[in-house]
Symmetry: C2
Subunit: 365 residues, 2 copies
């Protein structure tokens, strides 16, 4: 992006200038010159495009038939947060979906992947999901990640070039450099409803989130999630029932019913119980927290290699999280060679509503 | 209400003039002269006050302690719709909460209660709930009403006089005239948490909706519902998930969790399953309806004594229900000495969202 375009975007409030230690960069807060929101403009003007949203299909059989017209690849969709990873002047950085340098992800990169790939491929941009129980953004994590966080590469770009690398090129680089990557289940055609149905039911049983389908010859992509991933999302967030947009819950209930009816799971007692428990366990815990402490919150924990990155992260939370984030006393504290950060996020509406209800106050509907 | 006040209210859009056969009346669409919305002004200027909202307590023990300071009566809360019944020039009428003559309720009064009470007490206004599977307004009904509808008196007023009749006077009139009435469980004090806890758990087990508590000496009232009534409401309305305000569901989930934690029902597997089933059964049925017929709807059925009242009702639906109500072909039809009316109400957002999802279309969240 040339300097004039960027300067105009900054003037118009379509881009913001940021700094992370020695790196000065801009992130787009609105589309500019065909680059989407979340794109990053590096000091040399090279643009790292924002990672595009992937649309969802709600019916496997009809979705395959309507959306795909040639071969496509099926890969695992991981329940984590999206980063774009690149190396600039010998230092690796991880950018969040919104285009910020993420101090946590950047700090942990040496633990999560072999960084030597950037010696061989200096212009490579890796698109990856970071997931696990000890992450500072998400309440849930995939069941197979028992501790800390892991990283899963699922797409690659080259800085300054449009589009993603072809599937075979991506697979070759993953293989050659031993990158951690999402599972790739193979190459399918739109008529392969039955193998894909078996696959999604297997993923449903494993507690995996779902599939991302990527056309081989064009840019068509679609995601299709398991029924159980909807129950898991509800379970993880039911304690925030009044603090999330209600569509968070209604969308997942709709998706679950579409999955259940497509795959003949109507009346499954275990599924019914797990859905009821998903709502009640989080809500009951919220009521108990309100009764015991007067507030409803969620505790997050993550760990850093470098003390200064923990401080960068805390400054970022203070700037964006406001009153709702409370760092634990003594944070960050040293443990096993890391700096552990713990904080709570308070859910204001749950806190207020439950305090009123438990006080014995009356309420008109 | 004097003519001038009524004329001004009509001019200002705070009242509307209506006619039901020979009866000309006005209903207040906003408060006027201290009378609430839903009040009815009869031809002689006598005002039948709108039935007041009853506030809710969410905690039994704290609610009793905070809201009541002397004796109060506990009565059953019935899951139906509210009517005010009076006799004018020898004809009985039932007015809806909004202040309309309800053609259905008015038609069925001779089946539902002994009308001779109005010979002895011509100025009496009965406040009652009408409930049952064959009613034209509500999707659900109490489990003990197997067919048609029943009527339950729970309050009395005298036309032109403020406030409700005292509890003893009401009970005396119910007894003397053999009126169908809500169950009255007795007289309690704020310290009677334990007997009321036993009572609400008994009602929860029966599938009853809950309690209305009415102070003996002042106008304090509060309602407190069973946990299971929330599950029932969700069950009955989950097929309309996207067509009801999301608070319909979130409020009931909150109430359920407050009930569960107050009464030690955390982790109850049957309750969890019933909640999951409440969501899934209605949603699965909606998906199946969409797949089979292209639309999601609910079918209502009710019966009238008089053909002309069925037509009045159909005209009222056509005026207020719009495109969403479709009368069944041949309605009303004669059956067992009644005129049976059947109609469907279409849920537009469920219909549209499911049609899109099942078509295989993609959707961005």
């Amino acid at each position: 992006m040339d300097r004039k375009t960027l300067a105009e975007a900054l003037d118009n409030g379509r881009a913001e200038q940021h700094q992370f230690e020695a790196l000065h960069y801009a992130r787009l807060t609105d589309p500019v010159s065909g680059y989407p929101r979340g794109s990053v403009v590096m000091p040399d003007g090279v643009v790292i495009p924002g990672y595009p949203s992937i649309a969802r299909i709600h019916s496997l059989s009809a979705g395959l038939r309507e959306q795909f017209h040639g071969h496509f690849w099926a890969e695992e969709k991981i329940d984590g947060y999206n980063v774009r990873i690149l190396c600039h002047q010998g230092r690796p950085y991880a950018f969040s979906r919104g285009g910020f340098v993420c101090p946590f992800s950047t700090d942990r990169l040496p633990d999560l992947m072999p960084l030597e790939i950037f010696d061989a491929e200096p212009d490579l941009v890796l698109c990856a999901e970071i997931a696990g129980p000890d992450n500072p953004y998400l309440e849930g994590s995939p069941p197979h990640i028992e501790a800390d966080v892991e990283l899963f590469v699922f797409d690659m770009m080259r800085a300054g070039q449009p589009g993603f690398l072809a599937q075979n090129e991506k697979m070759r680089l993953i293989e050659r450099h031993g990158l951690p990557a999402t599972r790739i289940f193979g190459r399918f055609r739109p008529a392969d409803t039955e193998p894909l149905r078996s696959l999604i039911l297997q993923l449903d049983g494993e507690g995996a989130e779902g599939l991302v389908l990527k056309a081989e010859v064009d840019a068509t992509r679609a995601k299709y999630v398991t029924g159980r991933s909807n129950v898991t999302d509800i379970q993880v967030c039911s304690g925030q029932l009044l603090d999330l947009p209600p569509e968070y819950f209604t969308n997942r209930l709709m998706r679950l019913a579409l999955f259940v009816t497509e795959h003949g799971q109507q009346g499954d007692a275990d599924l019914e119980r797990s859905l009821g428990r998903a709502f009640l366990s989080g809500l009951d815990r919220a009521v108990e927290r309100s009764r015991d402490s007067g507030r409803v919150d969620h505790r997050y924990r993550c760990r850093f290699r470098e003390h200064r990155n923990a401080l960068h992260f805390m400054a970022h939370m203070a700037a964006t999280g406001g009153q709702r984030v409370r760092m634990a006393p003594g944070t960050p504290r040293a443990e096993d060679g890391y700096w552990v950060l713990e904080f709570e996020r308070v859910f204001d509406r749950m806190t207020g509503t439950l305090a009123t209800a438990l006080s014995g106050a009356i309420q008109f509907d």
